[in-house]
C-alpha cells in the first residue's frame, strides 16, 4: 500500500537532488567580478547631463578554470591587472570553463545580453562561435585570442609564445645529459607545432646533438593524461621536458622522476622546485591595457595583433640556480636581441624534418609563414598526427 506513495515521494526527492546538483554545478562555473554596479537604464544614454560616464563593461570567456596555474590563470591575472589599472572606468566579468563547443556561442550571446561592450575570447576554439555572435552584435567589440579570422568588429590577438619556447630550448639544450628532449603537446595545430620547433631550434643553437620526442594528448587540459605523456617520454630517455598543455602536471611528473622541466604560461616554479628550470610566461596585461584603452578612447580598429618579448608580452622567468651562468647569459642575449629586433628566431637556413630547406639562408619568416607552420624541423622525431 505504501509502495506507490514511497515512489511518488522518491520521484520528488530525486528531482530535488538533481536540481540541487545542477545549482551547484552552476555556481561552480560562473562568477562575477565584485562591485559590479547595476546597469544604468537605457534612457541615461539619451540624457546629456550624466555626471559620470558609465563604466565600460568588459567580459572574458575562459576555456579552463582560473585556477589551472597555466593558460587561463595568466589571462585572469591580466584581467585583474587591467581592472586595477582602469579602476571604476571599467567593469570586468569572466566566465570560466567555457567549452570549445556550441556552448561557447550561447555564453557569448549571454555576455552580449548582459551589456558587455568588449568581449575577450581566450582560446582558439571560440573563433567560429565568436564570428557568428559578432555578426549579430555590431555595437560590441570582440577580441579573439590565437585565431586567424577577423571581422569588422572582431580583432584577433596572440602572443609569440614561440619566443618563450625558444629561450626555454636554449636552457634545455644546455641541461640535457641524454640529448633527448621531450615535449607533451596538446592539439596538433600550427601554434603548438611552432612552439615545439622553436624549442628544438633553441636547444640546437647551443647543442646540435639534441633530438626532440613529442607525444600528443589531444587535449588542452587533462592533468592525469599530461602526466602519463610525460612519464612515457621519460621512459623513452628524455631528461628535459617541455609542455604546451595548460597544467603543471608535466613539471610535477619530472619532479617525481628526478628530471627537468619548464613552467608554461605562468610561473610554475612552486610546483616542482627541483625540476623547474625556468617558466616561459605570457603577460597579457600590456595587450589588454591597449585593447581597453582603444575601446575607451574610440580608437579601436579591427586587425590582428601579435605581441612578443618586444612588447613585454613574453618572458622567461624564475630561471633556476642549477642553470649555469653562461647559459643564463645566452638566454639574456637572446631576450635582448628579441627586444630590440636584432635577433630573429625564424631566420633561414631552417631545415625541415624531411631534410629540405623550409627557409632559405637569410630568409626571414613572415607572420603568415609562422601562422601556418605544419612541419617539424630537423631534430624532431615522429610525425605530426594531422594526417597531412
Amino acid at each position: 500500500m505504501t509502495l506507490l506513495a514511497k515512489r511518488a515521494l522518491l520521484k520528488l526527492s530525486g528531482g530535488a537532488a538533481l536540481a540541487a546538483a545542477a545549482a551547484l554545478v552552476g555556481c561552480g562555473k560562473k562568477e562575477e567580478a565584485p562591485a559590479a554596479p547595476a546597469a544604468a537604464p537605457a534612457s541615461v544614454a539619451a540624457s546629456a547631463a550624466v555626471a559620470k560616464p558609465e563604466p565600460l563593461k568588459v567580459a572574458f570567456a575562459y576555456v579552463g578554470p582560473v585556477g589551472d596555474a597555466g593558460w587561463t590563470f595568466a589571462h585572469d591575472n591580466a584581467r585583474k591587472a587591467v581592472q586595477a589599472e582602469f579602476g571604476d572606468r571599467i567593469v570586468t566579468t569572466f566566465v570560466e570553463n567555457v567549452p570549445e563547443s556550441a556552448d561557447a556561442e550561447r555564453v557569448m550571446r549571454d555576455l552580449v545580453g548582459q551589456g558587455n561592450k568588449l568581449i575577450f575570447g581566450t582560446t582558439f576554439g571560440y573563433m567560429e562561435p565568436m564570428l557568428k555572435v559578432a555578426a549579430d552584435s555590431k555595437d560590441v567589440k570582440f577580441e579573439h585570442a590565437t585565431g586567424y579570422k577577423a571581422a569588422e568588429n572582431m580583432r584577433t590577438y596572440d602572443s609569440r609564445t614561440y619566443e618563450g619556447a625558444y629561450m626555454a630550448g636554449v636552457i634545455a639544450g644546455r641541461m640535457t645529459k641524454s640529448n633527448v628532449l621531450g615535449v607533451v603537446g596538446s592539439i596538433p595545430i600550427p601554434e603548438v607545432i611552432r612552439n615545439i620547433n622553436s624549442f628544438t631550434l633553441g636547444a640546437q643553437s647551443v647543442n646540435p646533438k639534441v633530438r626532440t620526442k613529442v607525444v600528443w594528448v589531444n587535449k588542452w587540459f587533462d592533468p592525469p593524461k599530461e602526466g602519463e605523456g610525460a612519464a612515457s617520454l621519460i621512459s623513452g630517455g628524455a631528461d628535459v621536458l617541455f609542455q604546451n598543455t595548460d597544467s603543471s602536471a608535466v613539471l610535477q611528473k619530472a619532479e617525481e622522476k628526478g628530471k627537468f622541466a619548464f613552467g608554461w604560461d605562468s610561473d610554475m616554479s612552486k610546483f616542482g622546485p627541483k625540476a623547474h628550470l625556468a617558466s616561459a610566461v605570457i603577460n597579457w596585461t600590456p595587450y589588454y591595457k591597449k585593447a581597453i584603452d582603444d575601446a575607451l578612447t574610440g580608437s579601436w580598429a579591427t586587425g590582428s595583433q601579435w605581441w612578443g618579448v618586444k612588447e613585454g608580452a613574453i618572458d622567461i622567468v624564475s630561471v633556476s640556480d642549477t642553470v649555469p651562468a653562461d647559459a643564463k647569459a645566452q638566454v639574456e642575449k637572446v631576450k635582448a636581441g628579441l627586444k630590440d629586433g636584432s635577433f630573429v628566431i625564424w631566420k633561414g637556413p631552417i631545415v625541415g624534418q624531411d631534410g629540405k630547406e623550409a627557409l632559405a639562408k637569410d630568409a626571414v619568416a613572415d607572420d603568415k609563414f609562422l601562422g601556418g607552420i605544419n612541419f617539424y624541423v630537423k631534430g624532431v622525431d615522429g610525425k605530426i598526427p594531422s594526417g597531412k
Binding site: L3, K6, R7, L9, L10, G14, A17, L18, A20, A21, A22, L24, V25, G26, C27, G28, K29, P65, V66, G67, D68, A69, N97, G182, P188, K213, V214, V215, W216, V217, N218, F221, D222, P223, P224, K225, G227, E228, G229, A231, S232, L233, I234, S235, G236, G237, A238, S247, S248, A249, Q252, E255, E256, K270, F271, D381, G382, K383, P385, G387
Partner: protein, 306 residues
Amino acid sequence: MNEFALLLAATLSAGTVLAIAALGLLINERAGIVNLGAEGMMLVAAIAGFATAVHTHNDWLAFAAGAAAGAVMAAAFGLLVIWLNTNQYATGLALSLFGTGFSAFVGIRYTQEKLAERPHFEVPGLADLPFVGPALFRQHPMVYLAVALMLGLAWFLYRSRAGLVLRAVGESPESAHALGYPVRRIRLAAVVAGGALCGVAGAYLSVIYTPLWVEGMTAGKGWIALALTTFATWRPARVLLGAYLFGGVTMLQFHLQGEGVQVASQFLTMLPYLATIVVLVLISRNPAWIRANMPASIGKPFFPGG
C-alpha cells in the same frame, strides 16, 4: 630493455586507479546492485583526499578521507535504492552528476594548492634487481595493495562463507531472504564497501598519481571501471587484468608516439578502450558462460515480504 621495464612500471601505476575502483564496484555488483555513480564518488573522494593531504600532510589520512567520502556517498545511494527502491540506474546517474558538480564547487579554493614533495617508495632489497627492480619494485604501496585486494576479494567471494552469502544475495535475494539473511543490510554493506574503494581510488589519483586537484580530473575513469567489471564477467582476476591492460595500452600509445610511430595520435588515444574491450570479450566469448557469471538479480530491486 630498461625502457621496457619503465613502461611496465608506468603500466602498473596507471592501472591501479582503475583496478581499485573496479574491484570496489565488483563487490556491489556481486550483491546485485549497479552503482553508476562511480565517477561522482571518485571525484568527491579525490577532492576530499587532496584537501586532507594539503592540511594534514599525511597521505594515509588522505586515503582514509577519500574512502570515507566515497562510503558516505555510496551509503546515501544505498539507502535510496535498497530501502526506497528507487531506480538504480537513475539514482546512480544522479549521484555521478551531483559528485561532478559538488567536487568542482568545494574544490575551487584548492586549484592552486600543491602537495609537499611526494615520497619515493622502493621495496628494500628487490628494487635494485636488474630489470624487475625498476619494473615492479619501485611503486607506491597502493599498487601492491591493489593486487592484495584482488587476491583477498577472490578468496572472500569463492572461499569464505560470507562471500557465499554475498553472492547468494546477488543471485537470488528471495532465497537468501527465505533462509533468514538480512538481504538489505548485506546489500548496503556491499555498496558502502564499493564506495569506499572507489573513494580510495579517487584519493590515490589526486594525491599520488597526479598530485593536484582540478575539476573533473578523473576524466571518465569511473565509467571505465564500471565497464571493466562487466567485460571481466565479475571475476576479480580479470578485473585486475583489464585494468592493467588498459593502463598498459594507454602508456604504450604515448610510448609509440614518442618513438615516432606513424599512426594518428587520435587513433592511439582510442586504442586502450578498444584493446581492453576486445581482449576481455575474447576471454569470455562464450555467452552462456557470461550469463552464468552474471549475478542473476543485478539491477533488480528487491522487496522483502512485499
